[in-house]
Symmetry: D2
Subunit: 488 residues, 4 copies
């Protein structure tokens, strides 16, 4: 399961956002709250909701979990109106920068506009500098503010034209939702890197990052918003436009592996079923002579079930997770810091002792967590430890909205599989192949010339220009923006 990464560990990847929008329901803000709650796995640091009540835009932005902040009666009562958008966010900076919490809002001469997006604009910094030269004053370091200023300064006459004019200048990945005083807007970048679905609740339109956000409010799944599609929803219904040139879908395959919730369905594929099938493929590609299959909880569970099924081995909870880690657990002393990962996990010695164990995890990033997990399993008496990974080696950083370490810190960039096996001290280590992963996701195989998915983190093939990060320097943008002095 992808849920549950309550701590910011060094060694996990983090999705940066989930978005939600609703048009035409009296409980718009409350339903947005629930939708964001079900998207909490896409960002736990802060959230925001903007509603429009027919006269005014209303905004609330809070740090912390939706269930702790937006469920307060006074918060919801301030968010009146039948139309709302919301955003949940994983902060890349770690700072408490409330000014970066979406949705963003601007009052243009022609009326207000609020917008939130999931993804990352790879030429935002370049555009930002151009806008500053024209007199724009930025109040955040967020990509999203760039979109607002482009609209504000567009020479087009009508809002939709200004919006399209602006979005066409963007490179990168963006699934965005927005509201004006008349409309709900949704748009997915031409490659459709991030997900966005359309739903229906008793006639109200809904846009959401994943189908689990439809389920929680009992809404009906209608269809995925298409790559490059712009939908504009108002009292007359829904209008679909395809204003961008597109070279075909490149959905992020890692959403299947880790980010999306297992109960979500994307492009017709059950995320849980893909994950389990990865385990089946993995058992075939990388079998192990062992006594039992143990998932690294919680994200390794579906693949482990599939592996156990494929390999004909028992599935056991050989690692027990402590769900009460809290949000700020600081390891209390230096000597205790060495105890490592046990704050969150404990080996289930009674099941492991003397056994040959297959450990199944979703991915290896830096390798430090794997190292600790393996050590813990060995300390509990495992006779052998065979690690199987439900994704190919992660060799390149993501520039499309996922918080990955720099290339040099990725274990698979630095080492061969054999070296990695030695580093994390396992008896054998196996990754699923790229083709195996594509098969689990329903393809016959990977199309090397024009892959069906974005798999840049595994292949290094980026589907867009990386304007702000030319030379591969991922840190440049962050460094340039980090020092912008702002209001909290």
């Amino acid at each position: 399961m992808s849920e549950g990464n309550q701590l910011h560990e060094d060694d996990n990847l983090h999705e940066e956002c989930g978005v939600f929008g609703i048009y035409g329901h009296n409980d718009a803000a409350a339903l947005t709250t629930l939708g964001l709650h079900s998207l909490q796995h896409r960002g736990q640091e802060a959230a925001g909701i903007v509603s429009f009540d027919g006269k005014q835009f209303r905004a609330e932005r809070h740090r912390g979990l939706i269930g702790d902040t937006f469920t307060q009666a006074d918060v919801l009562s301030r968010l009146s109106g039948s139309r709302a958008i919301g955003h949940t966010r994983y902060s890349t900076t770690g700072g408490d920068e409330m000014r970066n919490v979406q949705p963003f809002f601007a009052e243009f001469a022609g009326g207000g506009f609020a917008v939130a997006h999931n993804g990352n604009i790879t030429n935002a910094l370049k555009i930002r500098r151009e806008l500053q030269r024209e007199g724009a004053i930025f109040h955040s370091t967020s990509d999203t503010e760039v979109i607002l200023h482009m609209i504000a300064m567009s020479k087009q006459a009508h809002f939709a034209e200004r919006l399209i004019d602006s979005l066409r200048r963007l490179e990168g990945a963006f699934s965005l939702v927005g509201i004006t005083n008349k409309k709900l807007i949704g748009c997915r970048d031409p490659l459709g890197v991030r997900p966005l679905v359309l739903g229906d609740l008793d006639g109200a339109y809904i846009l959401a990052s994943e189908t689990c956000a439809l389920d929680i409010i009992g809404a009906r799944y209608v269809r995925d918003v298409k790559p490059g599609e712009l939908v504009i929803i108002d009292d007359t219904g829904i209008q679909s436009m395809m204003p961008f040139e597109t070279s075909g879908s490149r959905f992020c395959i890692f959403e299947y592996v880790y980010f999306a919730r297992p109960d979500s369905v994307i492009s017709g594929h059950s995320v849980y079923r893909v994950r389990k099938q990865i385990g089946v493929e993995l058992a075939r590609e990388m079998p192990a002579d062992a006594d039992l299959v143990v998932p690294v909880p919680d994200s390794g569970v579906p693949a482990a079930i599939g592996f156990a099924e494929g390999a004909g081995l028992p599935f056991e909870l050989g690692i027990i997770r402590n769900h009460y880690v809290g949000r700020t657990f600081i390891q209390p002393t230096d000597s205790i810091r060495h105890m490592g990962v046990k704050l969150k996990h404990n080996a289930n010695r009674a099941m492991i002792e003397g056994k040959r164990v297959v450990l199944v995890d979703d991915s290896i990033v830096r390798g430090t967590t794997s190292q600790k997990i393996v050590q813990m399993v060995r300390d509990a008496g495992a006779a052998e430890v065979h690690m199987r990974i439900a994704s190919p080696p992660t060799i390149s950083p993501c520039f499309y909205g996922v918080d990955t370490p720099e290339k040099q810190k990725l274990l698979a960039h630095r080492m061969s599989v054999e070296e990695m096996a030695s580093f994390i001290r396992v008896d054998s280590l196996g990754f699923i192949s790229l083709d195996g992963l594509y098969r689990a996701a329903g393809e016959a195989s990977r199309n090397g010339d024009l892959p069906q998915y974005c798999d840049a983190c595994f292949s290094g093939q980026y589907p867009t220009e990386l304007t702000d990060s030319s030379g591969g320097d991922k840190g440049a943008k962050v460094a340039l923006l980090a020092e912008h002095m702002g209001r909290k």
Copy 2:
């Protein structure tokens, strides 16, 4: 898994406490923090630690999770010393009564004493009134303070004698840890209703509710403290006494079913293995003609694995849990309140649709949660729903430290199994038998005259007098004490 009940739902049972003590380690308070963290499933409301630094006793008590409170550097730095005890607590009152947070401390004429316990004294109210007549002034409504006043007013000369003199007057369940300026003390009531184990870390002595608290700090499990045993630890080593008459062990069998962590080992039995074995027994006693086995997460998982194994059916995560519920999720509006349990769970429609599903849960208390879960699974398209419960019907409240509803609210007290099946709307409902449960826990069968475990919640046979609650009125004690006017 028993972890994870982050919300106070109506329909779960709650353990009230976990205890931890350590003697002879320079990081005493930090290790106590970790020990309590691993016992967090036994109480999430508040925690306290008292240390002794050779000169003074130091105390900290905080509301909230250990990982959010006791890991602050300044908190730990105030808890100096090589000896400490700690307590984690589930509040029965719901009020913010910090004065009830353990450990309790008293400065007697002969020196200070801090004490914490897990359990419930069933004649505490009677003793309290006697002590008040002698001039004792109470500052809390806690059982634990009764123990302190008994010691203070004992006519015995030495501390150990005063302590034994006091403990002999107690009825009920108590596993306690205490420190004086010289000693670490541990004691388990004569029936050993609640767990307490002894561990060793490089020569330091440790007492803890469960072995998972030894694992987290890398301590070695030595043995269980025996029912009715008093251990006194000081620089000369450990001294064991058996000051009570005892009629044999009556350990709480529900610790195996739900309370204890699955990675703990109690009296030589792996909790995980017992739970899985309950599933195996249940598949034998109450088979179902179905397509797949789905656990109600997280506590139903081990029994579901056992059931699937026993029944030869696939095990699938047909219900997905949202781990980000937060601590205070308030359902935002009336209309939304009817959506019910989906805040925490969602059905995995892709796996369930059209299938005959066996749902495995640990217990049914009021039945309201089961009702919602079943409805959710039906809404996701299950063809049939067969519920299997890993414990016998819960018919009587607990008076030994578990927060159960009054008898009248227990579904199994009000209804037959058929009526319950109809109430929660399942195609079939099956509970494990008492004998089946005892078999899973390693006994040949239940000894009806003198059961090997306390199973009062399933059998109504209470192993001690219930002095304060004669007439079965569980509320009396609470009502009498609740209004004690006190300082927060």
Copy 3:
């Protein structure tokens, strides 16, 4: 004394801001903190400081008193650099709008600029709308942000030209301070409605609203910044420019009566001495046959001393003030609310009983406070109560940075002096004349054609256009801006 209005009472006037700037001192932020502390009487709701450390701008904005917020070590340590500006603010909205807390900052294409001002721009709304049409996105409702956008969009080449270009478009009152990465800037509107002085501390330049902010840090008073003067300070020294046409000084005469601190010196006049002299003039213009003179504390004290001296009557503290009112005293019940003003004041019955009392206060706004004070003095047994007011009747609202009620709520707008005397139930009521006030402030008399001061609140003669409030509708601007949806 003007200090001490710790409560937001209905019946006081509130200055909206104090500003401070310093260039060339290693303790820049700490000295700014002290300067703002001494200007706290000009605004108690929130404060902000921006420093520049040679590389970056640093900002802190906090609600509450300087002494409670900016003196935290971590706050000051973040404000590194040898150059800083600060602002203390009285919130007109009462809302918790941190985004309106100054200084404001913008990063222009050519570098950053932070600015804070005291006063009110009377055509800010008109300019704001023009800027929005050009694509500016506003993040606050503050006048100050208008200045930033004008600079950002100016077509001039150099910063100073862009600044002057922008300031020339402003109507109203503004005493502003700003910093760039090279300079400290100070400017006073052409009429010099609000004060601004220049000081020196061991070679460091200081700008401040009042001289008391120089005193607190031991700085030397150099001179007042002149009406319409722009000073630009950098490493080469101070440069003075007069970029505006000006029709002569119109300093706010109410600063002498009430706002400024009595220990400040403005345009060469001691505020305390002016206030005392008002009392002397008042005793001459409006004598009273009485036994003793009692100030309404604390703002009436200097005039009361002057009155007592002028009238040859004893000065006595016949009303005692409770300094511990706190910031949020809510009168606890309806029945108690009727007790009124006694939370803050009590009559000193022993001195008042049976006596003919002259009460001296600074002004009457709505009259409700005067009513309560008089009643309290009568209840304490005063034989007669003669009220003397150290300013002329307040008949018109202020549009230059003072929070006055709408015209209709001003007692002197609604009633003659006789009616007012009857309303507040005094035996006699006397105000100083406009000429008397001008004499106390050092003038021979008021020049009716071109008054030497801004006395619009007493005369209705406004020295500038009131573009945003044409038709005298003071509320228009507030209403239009209040609903701007924004981030806190």
Copy 4:
């Protein structure tokens, strides 16, 4: 005025408490809140109120000013009932020890009792140890808890007897108020060191430390409770008892000089009038050849008015006070710390420059504040500075409820008047004589054998035994108790 010491400076004396009680009014808690607000000058750290609503005792204790804490609607709504007592406290420890905040409450076998006192028991430590030997468990270090345990353990049959039995064992100063489920109780120690008055509000009985607490609620002053008197108020009326032997009144004369509010009347004397009269006497005893009289605000004002009147010199506010010091002003850096007292005061240079100034202050404790004030006045250009003090030299610490430094730190203990003048750098220094002070307080002169007041701080003649501090070691008690480990 004695109000206004919002900061805990080294160099002021602090009263430790004010008490209030009311019997027979539906707004009992709200009126207690107002009463405590008017007694805030007697303690600003924390406050508590206990009410009895006919069935239960209700308690609230909060840190901070009454106006910020007890005026919250929910706080008052919890304090239902027609009978209440309250206490406001200056913390001697500086720690955040909520367990020491009064009133204290105990549930005896016969019913509850809440009590609060102003003063200090000089044999509390001795009694505490005796009680601990009998089995009492203490939860605070407060004297007040000693009283509760004495009552709990008394062998007498009825509550009044148990109370009297207990109070007779006390040495020291105490003005206490208490409530049982039937009665309101007031008692003053045999010497009447601390004040306590009886009032009436429409038939409701009131007890309060000072008459200003009657004024604020419009209650009528009835009489002072007599030294050694116990009053018991219930539905049948008021009963007065004199259960102690007494050797005559020894009221604290420093209450007149500094502690009490100037608008209070004690034993028939207006505090303001006594203070002013001290100034008149001082001008006679210690005249000065000067140009003007300047009070050290605010406590020196009444004596300065008297001095000016007596000496025929003008009274001027030559020092201006900043009322916005906040509660936690930390001087930001070392270099700035040297600026000293100016955070709170500034010299009014325009009035002082070139003048011969008489400064009037209430007392000199360590002398550090005087030193800074004098320096500030000199820096502002005063030609001569003559300091006149409205009390005799303070040579001995107080053991009766006032927080004084140890003897060695008292300037007047260490130096002659000439040395003190040199230390604080004045041209002349004069204190009122003990006889002068007694004259101002209405006596012909001081009776050396049996002084009419407690003036131990000026004379060293303590009116009671100092059991806990034998050997003059004031710190002993604090040291012994400080380490009691407790709950916050």
